[in-house]
Symmetry: C2
């Protein structure tokens, strides 16, 4: 046993037998050197070991404290994910995104909705008209926080959901990813704790990594999507600064968390004074009568920064999003002026025209209907041809199906085999850093069902069957 | 005297009397604790004090070393700028940019060229045409590294300057600021040393701050713009990782560095294996027959990342730039996928049409001619009405004039007084963190001379005269 492990074990014993109490400050590194007789390096390694196991936590410029739990995180549900494997995740995502780029690949793995559905002829007509008008290119009016009229229209849409909003609460960004990143930068500092869902859009992991945050992941609840108990446990245990969650038409799995749970999440955020960065980029892609409420609706304390975009509903090439920044507006604008500076003026002006003339609402109604039809068609076909041991998750919203493979089959293997045949799928590992091997994969079902897709799905299901048999 | 100062003084003495030699490793923190009998905190503070004075430098995971100089940086020309005042710089820039936003402000302080000059009717016609075409919005073809045809056209322009370039060397970005930021992130890590010019586009300082870099500034050479001697001194003294320089139509001062000096800079970069992020956003705004060569031309070792944009020549609202990334292309694309994801497809497609049909070259010829005329008109008027003690710097390129005020006048005071009268100017402090008070200001002279500008300039000159008299 290394010296540091020896020391870690000693301290752990003191925590477990109650000698060191929850939130009690540990001796400083120097003090511990004197107490234990070990070297500074050994003490540091021991503290890091205990921290990575969730038994102690660090407060900036203050030192180490005992966590509010003696449960070893290896056994408990919430896991601290060591982000040491970060570079591989990035290259994995990158290679993957590169591999499915290209017109010859069947886009079951794509993150983008079918261009046939999101393309709006009306919007392109408006673009065509205003593109000839010099006024449409004015830079000044479109500097951060962005075009005033567009912000007013976005604010109105929040108001219609019962969320009091002013144009000045909104900051226009270069897509939702930009909004999420800027929000996280405004809230969190290196070393802060962030809560992420165990399966999550890979951009969240990359953003946390880039900012040097400590990531605590929360597992999905098998029934409700969101595990309140685990969430509360995490907030009790760690000095969490911020969460980044997706609760409507969750990517990659697809669930939408119910209102009761959202209300309780809001209460917990308030109780622990934790900020939430809410990724709600699929908010318009609900199938029912009622648009699901965002967490922003339950936010009484300016703790929620709600991020969304037009890129999912009008085309990924658009790159116009926004954040409900509230009192963080100034800070986020600062950060914008240091990065993208502003969002293209013409696009902002075109959206003003498009939305204010009710074209957007009409577009969304048709889009939702078509998405539902297409997704159902994929679902029915796959469900009725499902190989033994598979489980297909269908949720009424978004355009993804989440397919759980039999225990013995790795989604990465299936991906590797299919990409050889020019079929793209999204292996679950892209969305989950804590699993070495994933049995899940995400299928994009926004496309109109046709022979090409049926063949691709047949190939996929056959491939799963082959792996299962071996 | 604090204990740490006492220790710092002792070590400094050892360096100055030659006991500790250049590049010799200092005792580790722990060793120094034992040697000196001081506490760890005292030793750390002493080392930091010596580091901030340039007497020692840190190497990651290795420790502290003696710098190659016994000259105290307080006396020598190159200065280490402590970036502790960083937040103020950001808010200053932010407040300033906000204050000159608005149509009622005379835009002498603007960073953007006159919209009358950069607006291209032809480009808007193209936009109008292709905006109606569904193909123009395709997301996949425009993901990082960006539209292939646009990258080919940009590569061709490099080739025409004698710089061998392949489409794959280029990455399209959301403007030049985005290109610069991505490049810096790809090259530098927190704690690395960066060389910046003493007067520089404020974005460079903000980017360095955001990444936690140690900034060494190099003063402008009164004759040549760039001080080679100081540059070599810095590279000798500090373990510099990267430089961020602007050498063509420098913002804010305006000079273009000659080819002889550029060649020597390249040699020094090679000798010390230091990367250069080259901000060349004004590259097209030369007034002579020959486009000034970028540092990329002299780069034999893939050390230069050349960044530029269409935003200065076609309108600030455009937000399309690029970086000659070479072997850093993959890394920069990774970073893009974590931030803006991609650049609007329509804009990329419109630029392909515009450039490939030679409209861009024609547009640039007219733009350059008009800029030269306008700038000359401003120059002649101001020069012939210059208050006593002022010095006006005119350089044949770009659209800024750099005005040095008399010793007793602060540019911030002038700015404060003028903004009350709805006239915007750029006080020198925005571009120079090391000066507490700046006597310089930047004037945007891209506009067609008219009565409004004459009145604004008269008010400015009168205001300077008033301050001078008091």
């Amino acid at each position: 046993m290394y010296k540091s492990e020896q020391l870690a074990k000693q301290i752990r014993h003191l925590i477990e037998n109650g000698t060191l109490k929850a939130h009690e400050k540990l001796p400083s590194l120097r003090e511990q050197v004197q107490i234990s007789g070990f070297s500074l390096i050994t003490v540091m390694n021991a503290y890091q070991e205990l921290e990575s196991r969730g038994l102690i936590y660090a407060r900036e410029k203050s030192g180490y404290y005992v966590s509010n739990t003696i449960v070893d995180v290896e056994l408990a549900r919430p896991l601290i994910v060591s982000l040491n494997s970060k570079v591989e995740i990035n290259s994995l995502v990158f290679q993957y995104l590169k591999s499915i780029q290209g017109e010859h690949i069947v886009p079951l793995g794509s993150a983008f909705p079918s261009q046939d559905l999101v393309f709006s002829k009306k919007l392109t007509q408006i673009m065509g008209q205003i593109a000839r008008n010099k006024k449409s290119y004015d830079a000044i009016d479109n500097l951060p926080p962005g075009n005033l009229f567009l912000r007013k229209l976005i604010a109105q849409r929040y108001c219609m959901q019962g969320i009091p909003t002013d144009a000045d609460d909104i900051v226009i960004t270069s897509g939702c990813m930009d909004a999420l990143n800027l929000s996280l930068q405004a809230i969190a500092c290196p070393g802060d704790y962030i809560v992420l869902q165990q399966n999550i859009f890979y951009g969240a992991l990359q953003a946390a990594e880039r900012l040097g945050l400590k990531v605590v992941t929360i597992p999905e609840h098998p029934q409700h999507g969101f595990d309140l108990e685990a969430f509360e446990h995490i907030l009790k245990t760690y000095p969490v600064k911020v969460c980044w969650l997706m609760l409507n038409a969750h990517n990659p799995i697809g669930f939408t968390v119910n209102e009761e749970i959202k209300l309780k999440i809001a209460e917990l955020l308030h109780q622990y004074q934790v900020h939430l960065i809410e990724d709600d980029v699929y908010e318009e892609m609900y199938f029912g009568q009622q648009k699901p409420l965002p967490m922003k609706y339950y936010d009484q304390n300016n703790l929620v920064l709600h991020c969304s975009s037009f890129s999912k509903t009008l085309g990924a090439a658009f790159r116009v999003g926004w954040v409900y920044a509230g009192k963080y507006s100034q800070h986020i604008q600062h950060l914008q002026l240091m990065s993208t500076i502003s969002v293209n003026a013409l696009l902002q002006n075109a959206l003003v025209d498009f939305i204010s003339n009710y074209h957007y609402e009409k577009h969304l109604r048709i889009l939702r209907k078509s998405l539902q039809q297409n997704k159902l068609q994929f679902y029915r076909y796959i469900e009725s041809h499902l190989p033994k041991g598979c489980k297909l998750h269908y949720y009424p919203g978004g355009y993804f199906l989440w397919l759980k493979l039999p225990e013995s089959v790795s989604s990465m293997q299936v991906y590797e085999q299919l990409i050889q045949q020019n079929i793209g799928i999204s292996p679950g590992q892209l969305f989950n850093v804590s699993e070495q091997k994933s049995q899940c994969l995400r299928l994009n079902c926004s496309f109109e069902w046709n022979e090409q897709f049926q063949q691709a799905v047949d190939t996929l299901l056959h491939s799963i069957g082959t792996f299962e048999a071996t």
